[in-house]
């Protein structure tokens, strides 16, 4: 049913439809409403689940780890500092191949303290072994959770659904919430492949000495690479079952004819599409490639989609300090070295700590890369408050 609701409410409603057995999460802005709404759903008896109140994000992640290892379908959510506090457990969950679904309500990381949106938190665990899917709007954020459980449980891999804090979590927009039967038909009950059970004692995630550890990591890496197929298939199954496009590895907008291609991910792609339409009206051909699956990073498919494009600009809400754009780095890596084509791949960092990204900012970016390649630029930087002595 189509409803005009808050993004957090949409996610909570859809997570409940996925029938998790155990939920543990610690409230933190801007993820709080998701947890509050789920707590209400459980306390009102609309979802039969164990809602475990915990004292920290470390505990929340540990509870879902244990519950998942015991065979439960589990859910947790966090953001920012909470993600950092979970860090140790995040790696363990991936290493134990537990199909946990986590919502990251993307937010900046301190210091300086900042509660607003960027992608630094999920980026901080990009190498942990989780699938990371980024939502464009609240419909996709909701839909991705249904897909996430299916992907996670088919592959024994944890899935993180990333949605922009405030910009999506606190936005009221129309979201089609499916009914229980639709979700049940799409997402069968969880049949765990390996569980800890006192009746048949065994351990998972235990000790791997130098004879075994490398293989464990190799297998994880290969499993993530191979998950591209499943992510694609689950997305197309989803669109057959629910009648709308959501998820997948990436989507494109007016890419075919484009002279300049913007690559980005998350909610900013909505503004980018509006800008592309305005450029089109002015006779300028700009296209978009929006990443949904940041991990695994679909290098080959991105190369196939962009191989004829010579002017590409990546705009992202995170930075590897001392290195530069993270998504830009991955996009640049997608093209073979020593290409004959004179390809420019520019990199812009935008919207850190919730800085508004206006259409004027994005227009400036496109017009700049039209003239010259940009190695790295912070979009909308207030030069007037930066002093030379601080650099």
């Amino acid at each position: 049913m189509l409803k005009q609701i808050e993004g957090s409410q949409a996610v909570a409603d859809v997570v409940a439809l996925c029938r998790p057995n155990v939920i543990a999460a610690y409230p933190i802005t801007p993820q709080t409403h998701i947890v509050e709404d789920l707590a209400e759903i459980v306390s009102e008896g609309r979802l039969k689940a164990e809602f475990v109140n915990v004292e920290s994000e470390f505990a929340a992640a540990s509870v879902v780890l244990g519950a998942s290892a015991a065979g439960a379908r589990t859910y947790t959510a966090t953001t920012s500092q909470g993600m950092l506090l979970m860090n140790e457990v995040i790696y363990c969950i991936a290493g134990m191949r537990l199909p946990i679904v986590l919502t990251c309500a993307n937010r900046a990381i301190a210091a300086p303290l900042n509660i607003w949106n960027d992608h630094q938190d999920s980026m901080s665990v990009r190498d942990a072994g989780w699938i990371q899917l980024h939502a464009e709007d609240n419909q996709e954020a909701a839909d991705l959770h249904i897909q996430a459980y299916k992907i996670a449980e088919q592959l024994s891999l944890p899935v993180m659904v990333c949605m922009d804090g405030f910009i999506l979590t606190h936005a009221y927009e129309p979201v089609d919430i499916p009914d229980q039967k639709q979700v049940d038909d799409f997402l069968p009950p969880f049949k765990p492949t390996h569980i800890v059970d006192p009746r048949w004692p065994r351990g998972i995630g235990l000790y791997a000495d130098p004879r075994f550890y490398m293989e464990a990591k190799y297998i994880q890496h290969r499993a993530l690479e191979k998950s591209e197929e499943t992510i694609k298939r689950v997305s197309s199954d989803f669109s057959l079952a629910f009648g709308r496009e959501s998820g997948g590895l990436f989507k494109t907008y007016k890419l075919k004819e484009a002279d300049i291609v913007i690559v980005s991910m998350g909610s900013i792609v909505g503004s980018i599409k509006d800008l592309i339409d305005r450029f089109e009206a002015e006779g300028k051909k700009v296209g978009l490639l929006q990443i949904c699956s940041f991990r695994p990073f679909p290098r080959e498919q991105i190369y196939e989609a962009l191989k004829d494009k010579t002017n590409i600009v990546v705009v992202e809400k995170a930075i590897s300090l001392g290195r530069g754009g993270i998504l830009a780095s991955d996009v640049r890596w997608s093209f073979p070295k020593g290409e004959k084509i004179p390809r420019r791949i520019s990199s812009f960092i935008a919207g850190l700590g919730g800085r508004n990204i206006s259409l004027d900012d994005l227009r400036y970016m496109v017009e700049k890369v039209e003239r010259e390649p940009v190695e790295l630029e912070f979009l909308g930087l207030r030069q007037e408050i930066i002093q030379e002595k601080d650099l």
């Binding site: 005009q4 808050e6 802005t29 509660i115 607003w116 709007d137 405030f166 910009i167 606190h170 936005a171 009221y172 927009e173 129309p174 909610s267 900013i268 909505g270 503004s271 599409k273 509006d274 508004n356 990204i357 206006s358 259409l359």
Partner: protein, 184 residues
Amino acid sequence: MIEIRIHGRGGQGNVAAAELLAVAAFIDGKFAQAFPSFGAERVGAPVQAFVRIDDKKIRLREEVRNPDYLIVQDYYLIETVPVLEGLKPNGLVLINTDKPLDELKLNTTARVETIPATEIALEIIGRPIPNAIMIGAFCSITGLVSLEAVQQAIMQKFPGNVGANNVAALERAHEIIQKRKLYA
């Protein structure tokens, strides 16, 4: 696409006002988007919330810089926050104040409307929360969203007495505006 910016102080129901307008527009069969710009998240601190209404799906995520309409829930904000910034010259600003129009001295070519929303809120709701009156007056002036849809949105969000009182406040705002139109 119509863009609305709401200014108020934490505790005045600014985000709720944006939500109610968006839900009401949705009930009217339009596409709508509402989102807050959180600042200090403290009672009394200046807060902004944004609403977009359109006949097609809304993708734009930037903050509303050049609103068609401004809703100002506390007149005194104008002294501390650049409330009128970016308002379209032919736009409209609705201000919660009991001051007469000619005392306001606003630097804008946009149309200015006022309503003593806090006074009405204290009388009908018993608390100084002006949002229902402000959106009631807004809908009555602009006709952008139907009053019936706003009533429905209020009752969905606040079932029972709270909702009923806010609907009564909304209706009072409508009466005041309609009377004003009559004598204009």
